[in-house]
């Protein structure tokens, strides 16, 4: 299963729809290439711009959005600490982006049923990075450039260039949820609400 020693190197944006469909819940990946950052406020603005028929600040098709609000960089560094934020806050905005062709998103935590439903029709994977490992993940980001919504500060949209950025596939195109699969053997009491 998902030890990073067996991780697959994957190019982002994803090369094809086939690449996305071939990813399986539980796969450990090392992402290489370009990611775009966006959190709640930026998602809202992207969708408002799409509604008005305006050009979007980032490409969507087969791209991967990273839910992150980094700390400020020190002199000479690309970025500060940069771990994932909780993904469910983006749930209201994710299905329309999946329909527009978004290939994946990186965050942490459970996604709601509507997002998993939207993934059935379009190739999209939800991946988790280790929540709270901000220093370690920040070091895997080699370039960062603010592209849009600079007034949002840490929540502005950034273009990131990453090298061997470690993630685990949580929700795949076949409808498997890795959190459910991984927790079930260890559950003795209590239920996931």
């Amino acid at each position: 299963m998902s030890s990073q020693e067996h991780a697959k190197r994957i190019q982002v944006p994803f090369e094809s729809e086939e690449t996305i469909r071939n990813l399986r819940a539980g796969d450990a990946l090392l992402l290489n290439g370009t990611l775009y950052t966006a959190r709640d406020a930026a998602h809202k603005r992207i969708l408002e711009a799409a509604d008005r028929g305006e050009d979007l600040p980032i490409p969507i098709e087969r791209q991967v959005i990273y839910y992150v609000g980094p700390t400020p960089p020190r002199d000479g560094e690309a970025i500060g600490s940069a771990g994932p934020t909780t993904a469910y806050r983006m749930d209201p905005y994710t299905p329309p982006l999946i329909e527009m062709g978004l290939g994946g998103a990186i965050g942490k935590g459970y996604r709601e049923a509507k997002v998993k439903e939207a993934m059935k029709g379009h190739p999209f994977v939800y991946m988790a990075a280790i929540g709270g490992a901000g220093a370690l993940l920040g070091k895997r980001i080699k370039e960062a450039q603010v592209l849009a919504y600079e007034d949002l500060g840490t929540e502005a949209i950034r273009r990131l260039v990453v090298e061997d950025f470690p993630v685990i596939v949580i929700n795949d195109t076949e409808g498997t949820d890795f959190y459910e699969v991984a927790q079930a053997p260890w559950r003795k009491a209590g239920d996931k609400a």
Partner: protein, 280 residues
């Protein structure tokens, strides 16, 4: 009367923010190491290895441990024979946060208003809990409280008939529901009794207690031990990837309550449990 100047307070708060933002306290680091030794799931152990590596990397390169540098929550115990001079105590604390977050390159996450949602830019204001105590000292304890885990916290006004079993169920459900959203392994602070507001205050106060220091009431200490076992039976595991260590520690604070009531609050703390304290 003993004098404490506001400049001393500001300096101490700034230093605590910068240090806490980067380096976990010793008790927390030891708890993560113990979790790594005891976790039975290979994937859970792998997640803990990454967290320990992150802790080392943060300290080694003076980078924040987590990018969410939290809401600054301060517990201030002001001795009744301690005299703050040179300005306002609240302002001195907020100035310390302003300086600490700025100099430490910590992320500013606080908004002026929950409606307009414009960032204040310097992580102020803090949430400050004041307590007046005997003595001539000023004790300041601070936590940089992450938003992801705070969002998974809950409070319930249980019926007295629900009893201690109802309390256990509520805590376990809250932890299971938080799952990977809250960045486990967790420290759920539990507040039991008081009024609605007092229970949530107690829950926050509980997470300030050093890990391993049980409640001084033996009955509550037993409940803390049992609660830890129950929470770890959820199988959530480190990062929600399954395993035997969902929680590191389940501290409980208790207060008398009304005859009609059984208030319980669970304030979830993530593994980025960043606390400091100082006595001036």
């Amino acid at each position: 009367m003993r004098d404490v100047h506001v400049d001393q307070i500001t300096k101490a708060v700034s230093e605590m923010c910068q240090s806490a933002g980067v380096t976990l306290s010793d008790d927390m680091l030891e708890a993560l190491q113990k979790a790594h030794r005891e976790e039975e799931s290979p994937l859970g152990r792998h997640a803990l290895e990454i967290l320990l590596e992150n802790a080392e990397m943060a300290t080694g390169s003076a980078l924040p441990y987590c990018q969410d540098c939290g809401f600054s929550v301060v517990f201030a115990k002001l001795g009744q024979d301690c005299h703050v001079i040179g300005g306002s105590l609240t302002e001195a604390i907020n100035e310390g946060i302003r300086q600490g977050y700025g100099e430490g390159l910590l992320r500013a996450s606080i908004l002026k208003s929950p409606i307009d949602r414009e960032n204040t830019g310097d992580n102020t204001p803090a949430v400050i809990h004041y307590e007046v105590v005997p003595g001539d000292r000023l004790e300041l304890a601070i936590t940089l409280k992450g938003g992801g885990s705070e969002n998974m916290s809950r409070q319930a006004m249980l019926k007295p008939a629900d009893g201690v079993e109802g309390v256990k169920r509520f805590v376990v459900d809250t932890v299971a529901n938080a799952g990977p959203n809250a960045c486990p392994p967790l420290v759920p602070g539990i507040g039991l009794g008081g009024t609605f507001d007092k229970s949530t205050y107690l829950a926050k106060k509980a997470i300030m207690r050093p890990i391993g220091q049980f409640n001084s009431d033996p009955q509550i200490a037993e409940l803390e031990k049992e609660m830890l076992v129950l929470c770890n039976e959820t199988g959530v595991g480190p990062q929600g990837l399954g395993g035997t260590v969902t929680c590191l520690w389940t501290p409980i604070e208790v207060y008398p309550c009304h005859v009609t009531a059984l208030p319980v609050a669970v304030n979830i703390q993530c593994h980025a449990n960043r606390r400091r304290e100082v006595t001036l």
